[in-house]
Symmetry: C3
Subunit: 266 residues, 3 copies
Amino acid sequence: MLDAVIAIRERLRSHSPLVHCLTNQVVKNFTANVLLALGAAPAMVEDPGEAGEFASVASGLLVNLGTLSREQIQAMDNAISSARKINTPWVLDPVAVGGLSLRTDFARKIISSSPAIIRGNASEIIALAGQDGGGRGVESGRSSEAALEAARSLSRKTGAVVLVTGKTDYAISGAKEIAIANGHPLLTRVTGVGCAMGAVCAATAAVADSPLEAAVASAVFFGVAGEIAARHAPHPGTFAVKFLDALDALNATLLVEYARVSSAEQ
Amino acid sequence: MLDAVIAIRERLRSHSPLVHCLTNQVVKNFTANVLLALGAAPAMVEDPGEAGEFASVASGLLVNLGTLSREQIQAMDNAISSARKINTPWVLDPVAVGGLSLRTDFARKIISSSPAIIRGNASEIIALAGQDGGGRGVESGRSSEAALEAARSLSRKTGAVVLVTGKTDYAISGAKEIAIANGHPLLTRVTGVGCAMGAVCAATAAVADSPLEAAVASAVFFGVAGEIAARHAPHPGTFAVKFLDALDALNATLLVEYARVSSAEQ
Amino acid sequence: MLDAVIAIRERLRSHSPLVHCLTNQVVKNFTANVLLALGAAPAMVEDPGEAGEFASVASGLLVNLGTLSREQIQAMDNAISSARKINTPWVLDPVAVGGLSLRTDFARKIISSSPAIIRGNASEIIALAGQDGGGRGVESGRSSEAALEAARSLSRKTGAVVLVTGKTDYAISGAKEIAIANGHPLLTRVTGVGCAMGAVCAATAAVADSPLEAAVASAVFFGVAGEIAARHAPHPGTFAVKFLDALDALNATLLVEYARVSSAEQ
């Protein structure tokens, strides 16, 4: 799996996949800078008509529900429809699904439209799988392990790879389960890190041999870059800057040295 | 008062209040990072229906009018209504009120809905109090002292603590007046500093014993962190990064060393 | 021309022109911080009614189509109309025009409303001039030289200065052509650099003796600040921070040392 991660890192630079991000208002700038740091090309096209046009030329699509609006729902519906017609992978990030009605209803509808990857924290994955959420917003109080059953169920039901992020990240694809034990607590002190990982899943899915490898690579990139950034940045302002630097600098040598990827037991 | 400021700083870390921010498009990312740096948990939920749902679980609510739209007005109305039902404190930041009609009319309406704190620069407070504004946008050309009479009038009329920010910040609560003489000119060279202070007022109001202590603590945090950040950052790009670092590092020792809080004469 | 560039740099500090930015969701924060770093005063007022009111007090107006919506079109129409009534310069940034229908139709309509400056990459300028675009989003795969004929045609047709950005930037005003050979590859690795340059064109146009000098100055500021920032920042996170620092620090000495401005041959 590490070979695949390294290959995906190189392909982001050489292919520069164009990623169409329909995402929330808080993280658009950071998401675009994360994609650029890794070598991908971000674009946010949000008018419902143009979103459908644009998804037909992009290489990957992100649908992030963080600040969902009724107009954005139309753009997302059109973009997902365009992406599916040409088999462009799309990624769902079900931010804060569970307690809020508009996004929860919409997320439950679109998971039947074949997302390649669903990325969320434990509360979001549990809620999306139809179990009680208990989240209080975008931050999850539950460990990723608590969501493994829900992730398995969601993966079986949708066919998607489910990436549950937390202290340890888990990528679940049917019977295959991979654990990524990288990361640093400062990653939770910068807004939009999880949301940007969803965007990177759309970029990696555009160049990977499988959505499972794409999800694992995305989690590894964030965890390793977070560890590298934290070495000289004890506070979140500097850490966020060094994190972008570290994503840019990620290469095979660093991935071999840092990555902690293993098959999870089921 | 300094004891209260120190207690509030610790409570932000230990309680991590969930702050619902209905704020402008320019500052959402920075606002979220400021709240995270201090230990609070930001969330932006903007659909009018979901905004009402979410305000009923948040610990504090910010209403910032910087890029007000008609749809956002509905979200703000619903969120304020939800917050008031369960006595959750809400904060008004009347950005650029005075010369622009939609926001000025809306601000004058909602100040009758019992905001806990109103934070603005001199021009905004003067305009909101019903006097001639003279502001040319978000930046105020007037000293905070010029708005003291308007702030007193506005506090009496609304019951809110009025926090006028400028070279010296003033927190006015009925007959009580506190001056905070911290800060640095670079704080005016980074977009969204004032707006983020409004969000921090909502966070501190969620954990403070009174809105007055919450407003004073917010102004002290920004002024002290600005002074610390400026020691090694003469330019605004690095300053903004170090400012987030300094907010994270703020503790009792630094607050005792730096804070300049005094009762203002009336 | 270098004397004019230096004079404009000083006037941004001394006049602090108020710039009304109607721009895309990804870059609002960075755009505001770029304007503040140079000494200008940014404001984003987006409600269609208020946008018309505000444009009548601002010193310059930016219309950037990056995340165009139908509501934003109304705001832009009103703001352009207000600006024209009092001869306030306005700048068009036709982001991703060519392949997307809503923005392409709108851009082709408003170029008849006398923009002072049109800033875009090669693909955007070629598409706006009515030739085949071939762009795949906001990033241009074509050299700026490939757009020179289109830029000349667009300048003749609209009366605007056309600023084509790329490895070398070109400012075209009728028969006058200026090449600016500053810049650094890292400028393409930070989101919103081109969009922020459009905003700076609106700021410089407010204080310059001609739109041509304004366009040249804007390109020089970005290219020189990019070169200075890159000296100690090999990665895009730190580079973006140092770029803001360098804009703040720009002065006559640095401009004389770094600027590479020449009349282009036609």
